[in-house]
């Protein structure tokens, strides 16, 4: 794959990135190559269009939302470091997390993984999944056979299930709580080669 020092040398703040994301340098190298193959006109940055060109992503019902999650608020272009940082959330968790009290939460922690998912729902970024936001996502994910009424009800139901403080919306805390029995570490991790 042409993974060598010259590739790595092109990356800014390499050491910092490795430390932050937990990727090994060969991971970084693979990702860097991928980044460039996505970057059609070699601008060194990715825009939404670059992502949308990935053909598999076009059939993903949540594709656009997921792409949006790669772009921090208001930005239209991301550089490699930001790209790697987002992907790093999906790194599997270490078996024995280092028990350093003052170390920051690792980027691939359960909370961070869930946060990514949460942002998928929370489009207005008010820290809550409202009825409407949930409904939209649900509509994307369920087939056409499902009637609006059913959607409505499933939405209501889901919110009730998670809603602890009675505000008819799911805050991140409630979101996390509602999934506490689920093996999120597994469900939101992929093995990077």
């Amino acid at each position: 794959m042409g993974c060598n020092a010259s590739t790595l040398a092109k990356i800014h703040n390499l050491d910092e990135l490795i430390l932050e994301t937990g990727f090994s340098s060969s991971h970084i190298c693979h990702l860097y190559n991928r980044f460039h193959s996505l970057d059609k006109d070699d601008k060194g940055l990715l825009n939404r269009g670059d992502f949308q060109n990935i053909s598999e992503l076009a059939v993903n019902p949540l594709g656009d939302r997921i792409i949006n999650n790669f772009f921090p608020d208001g930005m239209d272009l991301i550089d490699f470091n930001s790209f790697a940082r987002t992907l790093a959330r999906f790194r599997p968790m270490e078996e024995n997390p280092k028990k350093e009290p003052d170390s920051p939460e690792p980027i691939n922690s359960r909370t961070n993984k869930l946060k990514f998912a949460f942002q998928l729902y929370d489009q207005d970024k008010d820290g809550k999944i409202s009825n409407n936001e949930l409904l939209q996502v649900l509509r994307m994910m369920l087939g056409v056979q499902v009637t609006e009424e059913q959607l409505d009800n499933i939405t209501d139901r889901t919110i009730q299930e998670a809603d602890l403080d009675g505000d008819h919306a799911i805050s991140f805390k409630e979101f996390k709580k509602s999934l506490e029995k689920m093996d999120v570490e597994n469900a939101l991790s992929i093995r990077f080669l």
């Binding site: 991928r34 056409v144 059913q150 299930e161 979101f175």
Partner: protein, 842 residues
């Protein structure tokens, strides 16, 4: 006390069984002598009744054996303690030994042993089919890499290591003089002992309930490694036939090639037959009665075809089951699917029982035993040690590639789960004594190994799992949020893989699902079945029912709380229409010793009107703004008559089928009614105090009280302890006095209660506090109404502005079918919203 009684009962039964079998054995002898001696005497005229024992002997004996095994199983399960301490498989082996002893004592010939043909052709296929058909596919394919590694590499390693080590020890002379052909005999022996046995593994592990991943790895390994063992066995067997010296390098290469041909060929045959089966099941609509038959016949044909082509029959039938399940389940009618399920469990469970019993019986035969202490002990040792080494090494390698590594505890359980069983027995019995001179020794050792692993490891697995605190599997229904978010997570992951350019599980699964949707499903599924049945909808549907049950449970609990000294039996009667009186009786009872009152339909008729409380309330207050909302929701939920086809529950147990689909009409009505009612009461977490208050209202109003008493008073079908009165640690203890189709309800109710045990939000366990500020009293709750709200029904009083939005367009429930009797409920006053206490969340 009970225990003692049980022991007596058991011992009595054993005695009876012994008598039966000894007389049978005698009969057998008599019959033999009769035919020998009586051949010459001509019949002295027409006999009205003749004794034709010989005529029916073989099927008769088979039936008696099956009956004995089934009765034994029944006896074992009379004591819930017995089977938790000693696994059923071990008990059956003991029983077999006992019966074998009796037979032996009677005629000194082991008349009934398990022949390899019997085992491989008639007992094994259904067990494997059952395993394949109920395989949790996603889990299986998700862990396929690990499973294959253990099944292929692990098995080869075990076979080679055990065989070579035994040979090494043999060379030292520790075992004395054995009449063997050299290393090949030991390798053959090693290979037949290498495979972990699916029958034994299922039998032990399904009682233990380890977590899903661990289970699927052990179980999947045991299923797939049979193919490997059989190949190894065949290779070494034919090498021995050729003669050790004549084996050339070409033969070895052929052996390796044959391994792939046999395994992959078996899988291919399985897939072809699965395709055939799925395709046929698409067109069986008009022959519904024989629909289930196709599943069994075609799977069996797959097994036989593979056997005929000397491919791996076990792999073949496994993959038939795994591949066809999706399409067959979608195509078959609900009744047929249930039939298939039960039939499959019946066959598998039955033959498993027989296998273990026969394993016991077959051992009682002096002619097969040959003792060699060193050989036997060393075999046991090597098997255990090499299993551990194999597991640890392979896990170490695998963990470098697994998303979730297998921990130390998992490895311990996996090593410990290396149970040998009937497959090894069948293979050793197949050995040709003219080729393998030490067949007797191998046979004895195999039996010892089987007993050792099944009995000793089987008995201790459970305590080991408890002691090591292995993550257990939780049997609970998924919450809708988990299902929904889980789906979202899948999408996220496959997107992330796409973006990062990885080709991983999710990528493959995504591709496969698309392909399946586009082509395969269209070809193999009925048009009607193709209509998307989404799992999210299923979960939603099930949860609604569960809530409904919780709801009644809570209502009744509070009734009982108030009236426990007076009325002990509670029941709810639901009617669909006033004229057609359909009843579902669900009793949630704290005191089952109380007198049972026979239900009288006239009482029920009145009760029915009284109990349909909330619906009446809804109807009556249709015009108030808030209630419009209720009506709307009510109407909405009526639309759920769209019933997603029931999803099969993946349970490995072959002894229990989760009955989701009791045909009873009660269920139908129950669901519908409950859904309607539930809709008007959204879940809530607080409000115990409120129901207490409501209960007081009951007391104040004699007429209401009377009514509710009546309501509670008819005999029911389903009774379980009120959690408040039973041990709080173990409130999941139920007694079912069931005489009909209410099992379904019971199951769901148990689910609901199981949640309670888990300390979920069921308020029954929340200590009652008079938190007035938290009360969100609905207007109609203050009226002396018969309504006792669901615990959950209180937070989300549906007048919140959020919900108002949905009121447009307003729908009236004039189309509703549930015209309940409304006669005797006073029309309540309208309560304005300002009634609400300050603290209510709006």
């Amino acid at each position: 006390m009970q225990c003692k009684k049980l022991k007596e009962r058991v011992s009595l039964l054993v005695v009876v069984l012994l008598l039966c079998s000894s007389t049978k054995a005698e009969n057998n002898i008599n019959a033999t002598t009769h035919t020998e001696g009586g051949g010459g005497a001509p019949p002295s005229g027409f006999e009205i009744v003749t004794f034709n024992w010989h005529h029916v002997m073989s099927p008769y004996i088979i039936s008696v054996w099956i009956m004995v095994a089934s009765i034994a199983k029944m006896v074992f399960h009379m004591s819930s303690k017995l089977t938790t301490i000693i696994p059923e498989s071990a008990l059956l082996i003991f029983l077999g030994l006992l019966l074998g002893g009796v037979v032996w004592a009677a005629d000194h010939v082991a008349s009934y042993t398990m022949k390899p043909t019997l085992f491989f052709f008639y007992l094994l296929p259904q067990i494997i089919l059952d395993a394949g058909y109920f395989m949790p596919n996603r889990l299986f394919f998700g862990n396929l890499g690990a499973i294959l590694t253990y099944a292929v590499i692990g098995t080869v390693w075990n076979a080679a290591a055990v065989g070579l080590s035994l040979y090494g020890v043999y060379l030292t002379g520790l075992m004395g003089d054995l009449n063997v052909n050299g290393v090949l005999d030991f390798l053959l022996f090693g290979s037949l002992l290498a495979a972990v046995d699916p029958v034994a593994v299922i039998a032990v592990f399904e009682e233990v309930h380890v977590n899903d991943v661990l289970f699927i790895i052990v179980f999947g390994e045991s299923l797939l490694n049979d193919g490997v063992t059989v190949v190894l066995y065949n290779v070494f067997d034919s090498f021995i036939a050729i003669g050790g010296v004549n084996v050339t390098g070409v033969d070895c290469v052929k052996g390796v090639v044959s391994f792939f041909v046999v395994a992959l060929g078996g899988i291919l045959i399985g897939i072809i037959f699965a395709f055939l089966l799925s395709y046929i099941s698409r067109f069986t609509k008009r022959v519904q009665i024989i629909e289930p038959g196709f599943v069994f016949v075609i799977s069996y044909l797959a097994y036989l075809t593979a056997e005929m082509l000397s491919l791996s029959a076990i792999l073949s039938i496994t993959f038939t089951g795994v591949c066809c399940q999706k399409y067959v389940r979608a195509n078959l009618s609900e009744e047929s699917a249930t039939t298939v399920r039960y039939m499959m469990k019946l066959l598998a469970s039955g033959s498993e029982t027989i296998i273990f019993m026969l394993l016991g019986i077959s051992a009682v035969d002096a002619s097969i035993w040959e003792w060699n202490t060193a050989f036997i002990l060393l075999t046991l040792l090597f098997i255990a040690v090499y299993r551990v080494i194999g597991v640890v090494t392979l896990t170490w390698i695998l963990n470098r590639y697994r998303v979730v590594p297998l921990g130390f505890i998992d490895q311990v359980v996996m090593s410990y789960g290396g149970l040998r069983g009937a497959v090894a027995y069948g293979l050793v019995a197949l050995l040709d004594e003219t080729q393998v001179k030490e067949k007797k020794l191998f046979f004895s050792t195999t039996i010892i190994v089987i007993y050792f692993t099944v009995v000793l490891q089987g008995c201790t697995t459970k305590s080991l799992v408890t002691w090591l605190k292995v993550k257990r599997s939780e049997h609970r229904d998924p919450l809708i949020s988990e299902k929904l978010h889980g789906r979202a997570f899948d999408h996220i992951l496959s997107a992330i893989e796409d973006i990062s350019g990885q080709i991983g599980h999710h990528y493959i699964r995504d591709k496969w699902e698309n392909f399946d949707k586009k082509y395969i499903s269209k070809l193999l599924m009925r048009k009607a079945a193709l209509k998307s049945k989404d799992q999210i909808l299923d979960v939603f549907h099930n949860l609604n029912i569960k809530d409904a049950i919780t709801y009644i449970a809570e209502v009744i609990t509070h009734h009982i709380e108030k009236y426990k000294n007076r009325v002990a039996w509670g029941s709810l009667a639901f009617i669909k229409t006033p004229s057609a009186l359909q009843l579902v009786n669900v009793n949630f009872n704290s005191n089952k010793q109380s007198e049972v009152e026979a239900p009288t339909s006239s009482v029920l008729r009145e009760d029915a009107s009284a109990i349909c409380l909330d619906m009446q309330a809804v109807e009556l207050r249709r015009k108030s703004l808030r209630d419009c909302e209720d009506v709307y929701t009510h109407h909405l939920l009526q639309q759920y008559l769209y019933k997603p086809k029931k999803q099969q529950k993946y349970k490995y147990s072959r002894h229990k089928v989760t009955s989701n689909e009791d045909d009873a009409q009660e269920k139908e009505i129950f669901e519908k009614t409950m859904k309607r009612r539930l809709a008007s009461f959204k879940s809530t977490k607080h409000g115990v105090s409120q129901s207490k208050k409501l209960a007081k209202h009951y007391k104040k109003d004699p007429s209401q009280k009377k009514r509710s008493d009546e309501m509670l008073s008819n005999g029911g079908q389903l009774v379980f302890h009120d959690p408040e009165f039973s041990d709080p640690e173990d409130p999941c203890e139920f007694d079912v006095i069931s005489n009909g189709g209410s099992n379904f309800i019971f199951n769901v109710a148990r689910q609901a209660l199981a949640d309670t045990c888990n300390g979920l939000d069921n308020p029954v366990f929340i200590p009652e506090e008079e938190t007035v500020t938290r009360q969100a009293l609905p207007p109609w709750a203050t009226i002396n109404d018969t309504v006792v709200l669901s615990q959950r029904a209180r937070v989300q009083m549906p007048w919140s502005p959020n919900n108002f939005r949905r009121l447009m367009p307003l729908r009236l429930s004039s189309r509703s079918t549930d015209s309940f009797l409304l006669a005797d409920i006073p029309v309540p006053e309208e309560h304005p919203l300002s009634f609400l206490p300050e603290g209510t969340a709006l």
